[in-house]
Every structure is written in structure tokens, then in C-alpha cells.
Amino acid sequence: MGKEDECEAPQFTIEQFYRFLSEKKLMAARCIKCGTKYLPPRPICSNCYSRSLDWIQLETRGKLITYTIIHVAPPRLQSLVPYAYGILELEDGLRLPGMIRGIPDNEIRIGMELEVTFESAASEDWPKWPMYYFKPPR
């Protein structure tokens, strides 16, 4: 920090996670010292407090470990209800929550394989992030 202008590697921040996402890359941080992986990334390892980190690109496939069908949503998403939402366990054990699309609600099962897909357009207003979804693999 304080070196924003001169730094070579992208910062290990949530903003950068979403910037990668808009490039259709699912990226996590890994502590070089102890190996702990972080999704979302963290600028300091919470396990060993090291600042030596690198970015790793994750496989986008994973297994659904739980889900729900949401019928009442906040104003921003009210037009989409009902929609499915779940937590995906990626191949290396990291977990990601998100909306599930492209499959009828009654066919969703715990344990099924899904993959992350990207919507590259960022929101116009704050926080100006893109969305991502889970879909059955092609």
C-alpha cells in the first residue's frame, strides 16, 4: 500500500478479484509461506501473517454443497425471483456462493456438478462489479 502507482503485481483485494472476474478469470490468493488459499483474496495471510502472496487461477467446476430457492429478494434483484442460489465447492476445496441458472429448480441436487460463468458487464452504480453465476457444465 502507498505504492499503488509503482506496484507490478495486482493488489490482493476484493476489487482486484472482481476486476479479474470481468476478464472471466476466477482468481484466488495463495500464501507463498504457508500455502493457505484465500477466496476472496486477503492482503495479509490470516494464518501466518505473511505478505508474500501470489495469485492462482481456479478451475471453474465444482460440486454443489447446498442450495435454496429465493422468493423474496432485495430491491435490486426483486425482478428475478424466484431464483436458485447455492454454495459451490471448487475442485481445490475453496468455496464460492452464487446464483444458479440454466437448470429447472426441481432438478437441483446437492452433490451435482456446476461451473462458474461470467457476466463481464460491471454494474453502473457503486460498487461497479460484474456478476457471476453457476450453470450446468456444457
Binding site: I14, F17, Y18, P40, I65, T66, Y67, T68, I69, I70, H71, V72, A73, P74, P75, L77, Q78, L80, P82, Y83, Y85, G86, I87, R95, L96, P97, G98, M99, D105, I110, P127, W129, M131, Y132
Partner: protein
């Protein structure tokens, strides 16, 4: 100082406003109603002279566009220039105020403090309330990606059903029980029974949670007056003692937790409280647990050690937590039927256990109870407090 098994503080009085859609009342007016209720129950206290500090929980400034409430409430309670601090850990905000009150008395600085909480929720639309409550979840990975507060508990419910075979009927029984109790509580938001059929056929909110699996959006306020245990007799003949206080944390985002069927923060808080009090789960006579959704109460049975992991569904089926069962739980009606003005809830649980342990619980009084427990969860379980109380 802290000695195991010794009372931490005494509760010499507690007060509650009516819970519900309190049209025409702002949060500060509900709070002063709760203070007035506590005062009427403890006429020997001289609030202005005796109370040295105020700790109040509130979840969200957004409902009334009002932050910085602590000194305002001290003012309305006639306590200026006494110091006042607001605590916030989502739906566990007033249990945090209680714990701060306990610390402040144990520190030796104060002899008597007022703790409490409030939330004025019903003047805003349901969509606004959904948005404000959602702020307790992780913004970049939960709010932003589309999960709601009921949705988070729904994710736990699906996982619990999948792993342990817990059923929607078992969850529904929690609602039936709590509405039965709430019908006996004149301060409850909804004072009416519901049938299992009605619960199971109510509108879907977030599968598998239906409308009657969810607690109510309510207005309300709560308070309790804490003193050093050795001076409680100055204020009341029937003090209640807090003999255990536990708190734990977990990651804010549900997805980052190892186990989706249990709350680590709750298990940690329970262990701390039980150890401090020197008692076991089987010693508890009455408990108020955080039933923001029916699945939350089932998980609470397990996390508090009232039954084994995975057996929460059978625990309610067997009738143990019913008002006439072996361990009555949520005699007040719980968040489900009494209502859940989120910032008020933690100390409202203390209020109910205070009434039970002093024989003031009216039609819902549990006979012969001596030890009570409260379990207050913040958000989807990143925060949990457990307190253990004993009659005087």
C-alpha cells in the same frame, strides 16, 4: 474479578416494551417504555442517582435514519451526563450490550448500569427492511451475489435436511410450539396459535423456509438493570444472577465455514458460558434460544448440547422443549411469535428468563425453575452469545 461459579453480576430488574407494529412510536419512545417497565418492577432504584453507564444494542441506523443513539437514549432515560455506548453485532447487538455491561461492572468502575436494545422496523417497506437486514451478511460475496437473510438460513436448512434427514414438518413444529407460547405472552407481537398445516402451507420465502418458518419484523425495546452481586439486595428481594457469559465468532460469509449444519460461534460461546457457570446442559431448566428461523432453533438445540448433533428434529418431535416438556424453550414465544426487533432481542431474552426465575411469567410460568439460559445469534451465525442465569 472472575471466579468460576461465582455470580458475575445481578439483574435487579428488566423491562420490555410491547412488541409489534407499534404505529406512532419511534425507537426512543419504545426504549423509554422498556425503562419505565423496569423501573415499575424495581421501585427502590433511583435511576438518575444509581445508574452510572448505559450500553444499548441496535442493529441498523437505516430504519430510522438515526445513528449515535446511545447518548440520546441516556438523555431520554434521564441519565445524562452518564456515558453511553451502542454495540452492534447484527441480531445479537443487545447481548453484546449486556456483555459490555458485565465487563464494566467487573472492572470495578461501576456498581449499577443499564443495558438494553431496540429496533424500530415496521415504518419502512418490506423491501427496505429486507435490504437493511441484509447488511449483516458479507457484502461482496453474499449481498452482492443475491442471497438474502432467510436465504442464508435456508442454505443451512437444506444442508441439515440432506445430512441428518431433518424434515420440514419438524421445523414446522418449532413454529407451532412458539406460537403456542406467544399466545400466552401479552407483550408478544402475534398472540395466536398456528397449526402445523398452516405452517407447511404458508407462502415460500426461501426454500425450504416458508413464511411461518420466519420470525417477524417488529418494533420493540428491552432493558435490564445490572448491579454488583453484593449490592443487589439494596434494590430488590428477588435478584437473578448471571453466572456465565460466553461469546464466539465465525467467518461472516456462510460459505467460508467448515460446517453448514452447526454454528461454531454458538458452540464456542456455550462452552465458555457453561464452564464459567460450572454447569452442564442438563442443569438448564428453561431457555430462550435464537429462533430467527425454525431451523435456527433446531440447530440451537444441538449447539447448546440439549441433544446430539443431528437430533434436533427429533428433539422437538419428542416434545422436550414444549412449555410442559422437560426443558421448556422459548416460553416467551421466541423471535417467531413474540417478535424480533433485532437490536432488542438479546436483552428481551434476559427479560423472559428474569421473569421465569422470579415467578413473574404469568400464564407461561415454568414451575420450579432455577437455572435459565439465553442464546442470541448475530446474522447467519458469525456471532453468538450464551448467558446463564440463576435465581436468587
Amino acid at each position: 474479578m472472575l471466579v468460576k461459579g461465582k455470580p458475575l453480576v445481578a439483574v435487579v430488574s428488566a423491562g420490555l416494551s410491547k412488541f409489534g407494529k407499534m404505529e406512532g412510536f419511534t425507537g426512543r419512545e419504545l426504549f423509554i417504555e422498556a425503562v419505565g417497565d423496569a423501573l415499575q418492577r424495581c421501585p427502590d432504584i433511583n435511576l438518575r442517582k444509581d445508574v452510572k453507564a448505559v450500553f444499548v444494542g441496535m442493529m441498523s441506523e437505516s430504519f430510522e435514519h438515526q445513528g449515535h443513539i446511545a447518548p440520546m437514549l441516556a438523555d431520554w432515560a434521564g441519565l445524562l451526563p452518564a456515558p453511553a455506548i451502542r454495540t452492534e453485532v447484527a441480531c445479537a447487538s443487545s447481548a453484546a450490550a449486556l456483555r459490555m455491561g458485565i465487563f464494566s461492572i467487573l472492572s470495578g468502575l461501576y456498581d449499577v448500569v443499564l443495558v438494553g436494545g431496540l429496533e424500530k422496523m415496521t415504518k419502512r417497506s418490506t423491501l427496505e427492511a429486507t435490504e437493511f437486514l441484509g447488511m449483516a451478511a458479507d457484502f461482496p460475496f453474499e449481498q452482492w451475489t443475491g442471497v438474502t437473510f432467510p436465504g442464508l438460513y435456508a442454505l443451512m436448512a437444506t444442508a441439515h435436511m440432506h445430512r441428518y434427514g431433518t424434515t420440514e414438518e419438524q421445523m414446522g413444529l418449532v413454529a407451532v410450539k412458539n406460537h403456542h407460547n406467544g399466545a400466552l405472552n401479552p407483550k408478544a407481537h402475534l398472540q395466536r396459535e398456528v397449526t402445523l398445516d398452516k405452517v407447511l402451507n404458508s407462502r415460500m420465502i426461501a426454500y425450504p423456509l416458508k413464511l411461518y418458518d420466519c420470525s417477524l419484523i417488529s418494533d420493540g425495546a428491552s432493558c435490564a438493570i445490572l448491579t454488583r452481586p453484593d449490592i443487589a439486595g439494596k434494590y430488590t428481594d428477588k435478584p437473578v444472577y448471571i453466572i456465565g457469559s460466553g461469546q464466539g465468532s465465525d467467518s461472516l460469509a456462510l460459505s467460508q465455514r467448515d460446517d453448514l449444519t452447526s454454528l461454531r460461534a454458538a458452540r464456542y460461546a456455550a462452552r465458555e458460558a457453561y464452564e464459567m457457570a460450572g454447569i452442564k446442559p442438563r442443569d438448564i431448566d428453561v431457555a430462550e434460544v435464537h429462533d430467527c428461523f425454525t431451523i435456527a432453533e433446531i440447530i440451537a438445540y444441538e449447539d447448546l448440547g440439549f441433544c446430539k448433533r443431528g437430533e434436533g428434529g427429533r428433539f422437538i418431535e419428542d416434545g422436550t422443549p414444549m412449555l410442559d416438556g422437560e426443558l421448556p424453550i422459548n416460553t416467551s414465544g421466541g423471535l417467531k411469535s413474540k417478535g424480533h426487533p433485532v437490536g432488542a432481542t438479546g436483552v428481551a431474552q434476559i427479560y423472559e428468563v428474569f421473569l421465569q426465575l422470579t415467578g413473574q411469567a404469568g400464564k407461561r410460568q415454568v414451575e420450579g425453575c432455577d437455572i435459565g439460559l439465553t442464546h442470541n445469534v448475530g446474522g447467519s451465525g458469525a456471532t453468538c452469545f450464551v448467558h446463564i442465569l440463576k435465581g436468587g
